[in-house]
Amino acid sequence: MFIIKHYKIFLLISATAVGFSLFSLFYFGLNFGIDFKGGSLLEVRYEEGVPSFEELRVALETNQSEEFNLRASGDKNFLIRSSFLTEEKKADVLEILSLDGRFKPIEERFNSVGPVIGEELKSKAWIAISVTLVATILFIAFAFRTVSLPAGRQANLISSWIYSLVAILALIHDILIPAGLFSFLSFLLGLEVDALFIMALLTILGYSINDTIVIFDRVRENLKSNQETGKRESFEITVGESLDQTFVRSFNTSFTVLLVLLTLFFLGGESIQNFTLVLIAGTIAGAYSSLFLACPALILINNRKAKKT
């Protein structure tokens, strides 16, 4: 019942986090990578003798006409981002990177995305996110269509669509926070939004709502059994008890997912680190929202209605 007692504080924390995320998204924006903007990414490795970052930067600046962005990756690797490079232009860049033949850059990876493909991915991503949201919303509305029961008036001021609404609120909360965090980090560390980022968001969309559904499921069940046994208790208590009953499960489920995500983050290699980071943020936000946002929001709405009647 702890959560229900202090529900206003928890709601406030959520609101603050969402506020920061929105601010970050509007102020810093999202830094779209070559997957979306089009452009090239070249990764080279030096086996025998590694030139200094400065040397490379100067060489690129003096010889390369396109705009570029150089970044060291590990001890021997460098990443060069630039506008769309053709095969010939890439050969020129590799030539420059050899610093007049003094070093041997080995091409590790070369991605080159035409602007058409980038635009296409962007619109596809928006559609995918919207479709997932709508599908989830429809499902939630369907799943909770029978929650409101015509039982003791006290307990059932909330109609079923409010459960859906709150679940959707939690869902939006769950993707806004990782997106906001990512936009802040992209400002701080220059992280770029790639296709993996969209994948992570869609995964969160599908997963984070689980907890909320399970808890609401419990509320539904308890309301029903109260009605059957003729037990009268306030809505607050029913929700609080449902929360207590599902708390351990919610925590443990998110915890095991976090365990594997953390191992992926630390051991899974650099290529999926940003992806894992978004998932970690989403999982935490999802766990928080189902425990500390969804039920408190129900109570808040209920109390408002109770005052009116």
């Binding site: 080995i106 969209i198 869609l202 689980n210 915890f255 095991t256 992926l264």
Partner: protein
């Protein structure tokens, strides 16, 4: 009781069989060895846009499939193992674009790859407009005739009777013959320029109508050049021009590193989850861990059988799904614990726990499946693998929780005796289930 024990033994034996299958098929010859994506294996991924705007709508899909065949032949000649050449329609979002995706595992020399594919000649015949060469010889304006390498039947090498210089002889197929005869009949006296890959190759004057569908190119070739061109034309003049719009190359060492890291993360992740399950849920936790390991084996076997192309993101998805797969078990165990608290006997608590948890498990997995399906649709080939793994993971984990865990739990010996130790083993976390 006995029933569940026998089932348990059968399940464990099956798991061992799956394990042996996974191990035995992991060699080069087996068609069930793991398929790794380009990001793990190293190789090149090329996306070409086919410029089909000149073709009538009805002919596009035919032209695309012959384009695919031509390029596949070309790629095969150069000896790449398991190349993928596929046509992708832009669909609603991609506009009317037609794409050709070429994946070349093991080929990291992109320049070579592009040459291999792109050097296939595009042969075109264009008329020179009458009054266009008034000012200079370079200022020709050309008019498309619709006659291209697409309508070529075959090409052979010949030599000029008089000068002995090499010639490239062309013979058109039925449609080409008809078109060629029409063009030559209507435009006698005009120049019909022959283009190769957009460059003028020769500019012969049409002297008379040509009905037999034969033409020759005398472009001051060296013998070797002519031979090369003949071969290229025969291996396939491209039916439609293509343009390279996106490339990806991954070096083999980078891929290997990503794979190693993925495997390492997977093993550590599994160990951590198992440790947590056993510490918190004790005996049921141990059972769930066993179910989780079998879940992993089933998934790996499915990757081989379907087959699923494993990418870095796909492996991450698999590891993530192991964390998620526990969820159904946790739901069931928590329910079981509640039933025990309310004074039920162990066996009854297990059964009721499973029954009650089912609705939550079903509802919470449907949304996951929804997003997996949408991801699959959204995806480029790299993302599709991830979505497929996520979706499979949800289905298999439901099976493993509802069938495996349940069977194993019910086959635990002396479940009826309700001994203090057994009840302790069935309680969880820091809580204790008081005696009845």
């Amino acid at each position: 009781m006995l029933k569940y024990r026998i089932s348990s033994i059968i399940l464990i034996v099956s798991a061992v069989v799956i394990l042996i299958f996974i191990q035995k098929t992991e060699n080069q010859e087996s068609r069930f060895s793991f398929k790794f994506g380009l990001d793990l294996e190293g190789g090149s991924h090329l996306v070409y846009e086919a410029l089909t705007s000149n073709l009538p709508d009805g002919e596009i899909s035919g032209a695309m499939s012959s384009l695919r065949e031509v390029i596949e032949r070309r790629v095969n000649i150069f000896g790449v193992s398991e190349p993928i050449v596929q046509v992708e329609r832009g669909g609603v979002i991609g506009g009317e674009s037609n794409r050709l995706i070429v994946e070349l595992p093991g080929v990291t020399d992109l320049k070579e790859a592009i040459r291999m594919i792109g050097r296939t000649p595009l042969l075109e015949f264009k008329l020179v407009l009458e009054d266009s060469n008034a000012t200079s010889s370079d200022g020709f304006i050309f008019e498309d005739t619709g006659l291209t390498g697409r309508l070529l039947e075959k090409s052979t090498l010949g030599f000029d009777n008089v000068t002995g210089t090499p010639l490239v002889l062309l013979s058109f197929n039925g449609e080409g013959r008809k078109l060629f005869s029409e063009i030559t009949q209507k435009n006698t006296g005009r120049i019909l320029a022959i283009f190769l890959d957009g460059e003028v190759l020769s500019t012969p004057v049409i002297r008379e109508e040509i009905r037999d569908g034969n033409a020759q190119i005398s472009g001051n070739f060296k013998a070797e050049e002519a031979r090369q061109l003949v071969r290229d034309l025969n291996f396939g003049a491209l039916p439609v021009p293509i343009e390279l719009i996106s490339t990806q190359t991954i070096g083999p060492s980078l891929g290997e590193k990503i794979l190693d890291e993925g495997v390492k993360a997977g093993i550590f992740g599994l160990i951590l989850v198992v440790v947590f399950l056993v510490l918190w849920y004790r005996l049921p936790g141990l059972v769930a861990s066993l179910a989780l390991v079998i879940y992993g084996l089933i998934m790996l076997a499915l990757f081989k059988l379907i087959p699923v192309t494993l990418t870095a993101a796909g492996i991450a998805g698999f590891i993530l799904s192991m964390g998620m797969a526990v969820d159904a078990n946790v739901l069931i165990f928590e329910r079981m614990k509640e039933e025990l608290r309310s004074g039920k006997l162990l066996r009854e608590a297990i059964n009721v726990g499973f029954k009650r948890a089912w609705f939550s498990i079903r509802d919470s997995n449907i949304t996951g499946l929804l997003s997996a399906v949408i991801l699959f649709w959204f995806g480029t080939s790299l993302i599709k693998g991830f979505a497929l793994i996520l979706g499979l993971g949800i289905l298999v984990s439901m099976f493993s929780a509802l069938t495996l865990t349940r069977t194993f739990l019910l086959s635990i010996p002396s479940l009826e005796k309700e001994s203090r130790i057994l009840r302790f083993l069935f309680s969880s976390g820091v809580s204790r289930i008081s005696e009845k």
